[in-house]
């Protein structure tokens, strides 16, 4: 534990990538020092170079990348000068890594127990007779229930959280001195995130290991790390103790990140940077005027009619899927009837309403049926049972296939989770926004469609000159704006937001959430906000519905649910949100 000789010493590290546009510096003059037994968080948004730094430490940069300057010393060994043999010995045994996507990190056609044995064998940690026992012991250490059975499981048979535990088991199998965890919980539910992070911290503490936690989540880093390194655009902007970062961030970028992270007690406006100049430079037509096909009077009337009949009524909605497994011939030859019912209820009789101008949050963990619910309300898939009434019309009775061309289609729209996936890679932004206008609006002529697109772009704060770009030429935030512009192009009454910010950096998320709120105020739409993140839902929604395993656990006004949750499950969800003790 002497500060004099750190376990890992990264000094003045610069990493360059050779691209077709010349040499690009992904990491510039980065200094990080990690003492034995210390847990350090590297925090930054996408493109900040946090992952590249860790790849450089492990020396697993891809062909185009190279360490241009600086030094990396690991227990006194010069990583830059080490031979490939030395490095291979080091990786896995002395320092190991947990990757972001556990499923991608595991070999899909090899039993998990075998994969652990492979690592042990590679570094000849135990003799071959004891391999199996050792692997089972390691599985047990990462709290995998029934490790003897799970030894024989393939990765696809395990849940995401379980897979991540196996990856942790792999990383810790040889008792390394340094563990690099690269976004180990991204894509996992909050409750799973908590158990996985607790596990990592406990195991590393127990073994006196050092850990580097790479994350975009400042809250997560501050909760689990001793020190936090904040990176921006390839440079370290601040290094401080977690408590200091959280209570008194000194660098403007850290402050911006801090502000943008949704926490209890903050409001939507608080997320935006305090810098006043940004407010002045707002795009000219983010003002409450509708151009092109907009009808301001109509939208005003809509928000006034808040007290009237609910816009959407969902009653006893059910979606059943056939259970996978025995089918066809196997079923014929099976003597006994299967003990389980043949169908699986993804959504199991849920009822809720959405009023005009109201935003309702639909919260739950993955697999709880929230996406199935929203897709049914959206009329993209057919329900199995129940009623979906939209403005007095039973839209649930209309087949999903027929719904696309009905005038009703205009009134229910959606913003998708992944802005990249939801834009056709071969359509320009303008073409994407124009698509619903061309199909469903009675707008004639290329000029008027273009004018409407430009008006929408201004409304969502997308610079008009970007309209002729293709999705791959736009940033994540800009793509999100295109998706939002497309969703509001037809002045819908109900917009379903399916985790619209899940794929975005926090600072972009802050901006997009504010945009959504402002659009709602301007256009008088209702939102159904589907999310797994209670902190985000809280900012935007009047009411919250908590779902679990296809059923509604609890619903009510947002503040009530968050302050005094009735159901144990809601309490668990709230407790799992990473929250530093000193904050």
């Amino acid at each position: 534990m002497t500060e004099a000789v750190p376990l890992l010493d990264v000094a003045d590290l610069t990493v360059e990538f050779t691209t077709r546009r010349g040499i690009v510096r992904a990491v510039e003059h980065v200094d990080v020092r990690i003492a034995k037994g210390e847990t350090v968080g590297i925090v930054g948004e996408s493109g900040s170079g946090k992952s590249v730094t860790s790849y450089a430490v492990m020396r697993i940069l891809d062909r185009a990348g190279r360490i241009a300057a600086g030094a990396v010393h690991f227990t006194g060994l010069d990583v830059r000068a080490a031979s490939e043999d030395q490095m291979r010995n080091l990786r896995g045994r002395e320092m190991s890594m947990i990757f972001q996507n556990p499923r991608a990190a595991l070999n899909p056609i090899r039993k998990v127990g075998r994969q652990i044995e492979d690592v042990l064998e590679q570094h000849s940690q135990v003799d071959s007779s004891a391999l199996t026992d050792k692997a089972i012991e390691i599985l047990d250490q990462v709290r995998i229930a029934r490790p003897r059975e799970r030894y024989h499981a393939y990765p696809f048979e395990l849940s995401g959280g379980m897979c991540q535990r196996v990856v942790i088991a792999l990383a810790l199998a040889c008792r390394p001195q340094l563990l690099i965890a690269d976004e180990p919980t991204t894509g996992l539910d909050v409750t799973t995130q908590k158990t996985v992070m607790d596990l990592i911290v406990e195991l590393t503490k127990q073994r006196g290991m050092s850990t580097i936690l790479i994350t975009h989540d400042l809250g997560l880093a501050a909760t689990y790390c001793d020190r936090v390194v904040v990176m921006e655009k390839g440079r370290v902007v601040e290094t401080a103790l977690s408590r200091e970062i959280f209570t008194a961030p000194s660098h403007p970028y850290t402050r911006k990140l801090m502000r943008a992270t949704p926490r209890p007690g903050t409001s939507l406006r608080d997320l935006l940077p305090e810098d006043e100049s940004l407010y002045e430079a707002r795009p000219p037509t983010a003002t409450p005027t509708l151009q092109g096909g907009g009808k301001p009077t109509e939208s005003a009337a809509r928000s006034n009619g808040k007290s009237g009949a609910p816009l959407l009524v969902v009653e006893k909605l059910v979606k059943e899927y056939p259970r996978k497994g025995l089918g066809g011939f196997a079923k014929i030859f099976q003597r006994q009837p299967a003990p389980e019912p043949e169908t699986f209820r993804a959504v199991d009789g849920i009822s809720f309403t959405i009023n005009r101008g109201e935003s309702v949050g639909l919260v739950g963990e993955s697999g709880c049926g929230k996406s199935t619910t929203s897709t049914m309300v959206m009329r993209l898939i057919d329900k199995s049972d129940g009623v979906i009434m939209f403005d007095g019309e039973d839209i649930g009775a209309i087949a999903a296939k027929a719904f696309a061309k009905l005038p009703l289609r205009k009134r229910i729209q959606m913003v998708f989770q992944d802005p990249t996936d939801s834009l056709n890679p071969r359509f320009t932004a303008a073409r994407a926004i124009a698509d619903p206008i061309l199909r469903l609006a009675n707008l004639k002529g290329r000029e008027s469609v273009r004018a409407r697109c430009e008006a929408l772009a201004r409304q969502v704060g997308l610079p008009v000159e970007l309209l002729d770009r293709f999705p791959h030429q736009l940033s994540g935030g800009q793509k999100a704006r295109v998706g939002i512009a497309r969703a509001i192009a037809l002045n819908p009454e109900l917009v379903i937001l399916d985790e619209p910010t899940a794929a975005l950096d926090v600072s972009v998320q802050a901006v997009v959430l504010n945009l959504l709120q402002e659009l709602k105020d301007t256009l008088g739409m209702s939102y159904l906000f589907v999310s797994h993140d209670l902190n985000v839902v809280r900012l935007l929604c009047d009411r919250v519905i908590v779902m679990r395993a296809g059923r509604i656990v609890e619903q009510g006004p947002t503040e009530e649910i968050l302050v005094s949750p009735q159901a144990q499950y809601t309490r668990d969800l709230l407790a799992a949100i990473p929250h530093p003790m000193f904050a």
Binding site: P273, N424, G461, Q473, S475, R486, E518
Partner: protein, 331 residues
Amino acid sequence: MLSPEASQPNSSPTPNPSPQGGGESTASVATSRGISAGIRIAPALAHNTGFSAGLRHARYILSENAVTGFAFALFLAIVLAALAGPYLVPYDPLASDTAAALKAPSAAHWFGTDQLGRDVFSRVVVATRLDFFIAVASVALVFLMGGLAGVAAGFFGGWTDRVVGRIADTIMAFPLFVLAMGIVAALGNTVQNVVLATAIVNFPLYARIARAEANVRREAGFVQAARLSGNGELRILLAQILPNIMPIMVVQMSLTMGYAILNAAGLSFIGLGVRPPTAEWGIMVAEGSAFMVSGEWWIAFFPGAALMVAVFCFNLLGDGLRDIVDPQRRT
């Protein structure tokens, strides 16, 4: 107020202008292992759209891969020969001159003359048009049949998928060249039927690739979004899915062009399809093969070499196109 990213003092229209003035964009093309997320590229994106960008991209590909450039030059030569061949050649490809029969290559007859005294060079060049036409026509036809059937199978699934799949399986159950022979023999000995036979033989290849590509995109976000925008299923198939799989299909088309030429030449070699005295590489090889033994190698050699160069060119071009379309798979 809502858009700090869009409202920076930086007025350059780079995507995501950043406070430090550098345009920022992830260089997904530059790296191959997913580490690309962390890379910024230089602010050269200002004029990154339209024709000039396409040209720059093409120039980059050609300079990175000289072989592709070579294949492309070869391709242009083939196209030129196909279009202007008859006006370029020194002799009439059909005019016989028995006095000059079976002459070895010389300054007057670069590729020599055949048994009727026809100039082999002229015949090889003029034949390009016919062979090229057969290849292009059959590839276009198979793209329409196989490509569309495959996209529909992948997108709709269910019965469409089963029917298309079984048709492809049936075709693949035959030795392909024998099947092509059978089709031409049954339907009649014409160029159209050679085109049709070549197309049918290639059907499974196109149907399967198109099916796989469409199937992945079936539940993509942008397809769902298109449904929300009021597009019918057929329109989604043609306007949203098809353009996305075109690059891969174009690569496939280039690769099968060579095979189509070979197939057509093979059919005429065994006496199906094109008939003498038309200048066609397959027939010329067939006619020249009789003279190989007696030492007049040039009659069969030069059309054979032309065939080889054409197939070689299309294969290289296909590889090059794949590099352009999908840099991740570059070898």
